[in-house]
Symmetry: none
Subunit: 281 residues, 2 copies
DNA sequence: TATGGATTGGAATTATTATTTCATATTGCC
DNA sequence: GGCAATATGAAATAATAATTCCAATCCATA
């Protein structure tokens, strides 16, 4: 038997959803029940679960076997594991991760360190976001004809995700990068009717700061994501956000910045959609 | 029997702590174990729990009876109920956040949604990383002359951060992208002495899959980060990681993928440094 | 509408697990 | 130190639960 048996709940869930169409009626019935009442599967007995789902115990076992398990019992283990995982509280786990990462035990510790850094950053920002700034930034970006996205080096991944998302949302945007060295010309097209999202953290990439300066002098409003009020980026920005990203092994987590960037993007998309609908009515 | 039987975990806990002093040795032993490992009580069998706690099953039953339950089974129910409770509150919180965002309750909810998605993903991966795969991937990448990084569209931000980090660590690498449309030629240079980090999530960008196929046919080992065992990327990979990223408003969080990618990168850097030092001595 | 294969229901069987029992050990008390 | 009360260990037993098996039914196809 080399069939791939889902050993975690998420995989199991997706496997079930994938096969949903091709399952026989009763099996499908128990499959739906399982996804709707995972706790019951975790705690119940084959007989009690079967009764609640309105099938025979044997059907429940056939369901498990069809998924590659060798019986109901092994299927149930996955549902139990899920409860165990979810149970331990967020803070406890984070503390444990940090401790392990700090005592420096091998490669696993490196991984834990990055996870801890990302979690910390998210924790931090979720309590710190300035809602007024957030609304201002959304308003500003919603009005823009073209949204320019500016970030270099370590912040560049965020910029590329913003550009991807804006594209998906059909919002005109321009990532300021050019393999041909035409950045300056690209910036030249920006006008006060456009807007910029600029991202830079210490040590600030000189190119990013310089381009932000030029573009703000053209009267283009800038929304900045940066790490402190002393940031050179802040002085050019109409609205700016302070994001404190934890780092690990010299590399900064991008999770908080990503979350903020995506929230801005989606909020702008939503606000434009609403405005469009209103205009039509 | 009108003895007061604790029917919720908190009451039970306090009852146990109250009586701790007056309990016989073995009973006290199982009592301590129960409070320290409530999950084990919830899921284990009388025999398995007794063994872990270093007592006889009969002792476990006597413990339950002393607390007023009529047997181990009814004691166990309290521990199971506790897991149910905790878990549902967790789900409720997350569902509430999503619901708020989906019913359009302000922009703040969108932000919270992204933070929640990122946290969930991190939580998820931290318990699920396969350490053997992780070590294999590190070993494989450490040996490589050049590390090629392959990812398109929504996964591209991760690739660009990997490339940045590898550069910082002075590890030769090549991001597979070309404004001049020379991807195929770029791939052509890769040899079996190199390695690839490939990242792709459903719906898999055709270009990424195609390039992974070509490069694997050249005998270049691939480390893949993807979302399920059904991923077309998995079949080309020497080592692959399954990362389940939560999504929000149609955009997948990248936080877990980022953490894994950075951990791989830094671990490779560290392993190379160690190897270099050994060679010198 | 007849036929073969797949699916399902329900009881029989097997396995696992909780509980009880009883012999033995330990403890507190005179 | 001896005796009773209590606690413990280990195995037997009872209970419960999972699995298997086979007959009945359903469903697609010719």
């Amino acid at each position: 038997m080399d069939e791939r048996v889902p050993r975690d709940f998420e995989t199991l869930r997706r496997t079930i959803l994938d096969r949903r169409q091709s399952l026989p009626k009763r099996i499908a019935q128990i499959a739906a029940y399982a996804l709707d009442n995972p706790d019951d599967i975790a705690f119940g007995t084959a007989a009690s679960i079967a009764a609640s789902a309105g099938v025979q115990p044997s059907t429940l076992i056939r369901f498990a076997q069809q998924l590659g398990f060798d019986g109901f019992t092994s299927l149930q283990l996955v549902f139990r594991e899920r409860l165990r995982e979810r149970n331990s509280s967020y803070d406890e786990r984070l503390a444990a991760l940090r401790a392990k990462a700090e005592e420096g035990a091998g490669h696993r510790a490196i991984f834990d360190g990055f996870v801890a850094a990302a979690s910390t950053s998210l924790n931090d920002i979720s309590g710190r976001l300035n809602e007024d700034h957030f609304e201002d930034a959304i308003a500003l970006l919603t009005k823009a004809e073209t949204i320019y996205v500016l970030a270099k080096r370590r912040s560049y991944p965020v910029a590329s995700y913003i550009a991807y998302a804006l594209g998906k949302l059909k919002i005109r945007n321009q990532l300021i990068e050019s393999a041909a060295g035409l950045n300056a010309e690209m910036i030249g097209f920006a006008s006060p009717r456009d807007a910029v999202i600029a991202i830079s953290f210490s040590p600030y990439a000189p190119a990013a700061i310089e381009e932000a300066r030029v573009i703000s002098e053209q009267g283009v409003p800038i929304v900045a994501i940066t790490d402190s009020s002393f940031s050179p980026l802040a002085q050019f920005a109409k609205v700016w956000f302070e994001v404190a990203e934890a780092d690990f092994a010299g590399f900064r987590s991008l999770s908080a910045t990503m979350a903020l960037a995506m929230a801005l993007t989606v909020a702008v998309g939503e606000k434009r959609r609403d405005a469009g609908r209103k205009r039509k009515t």
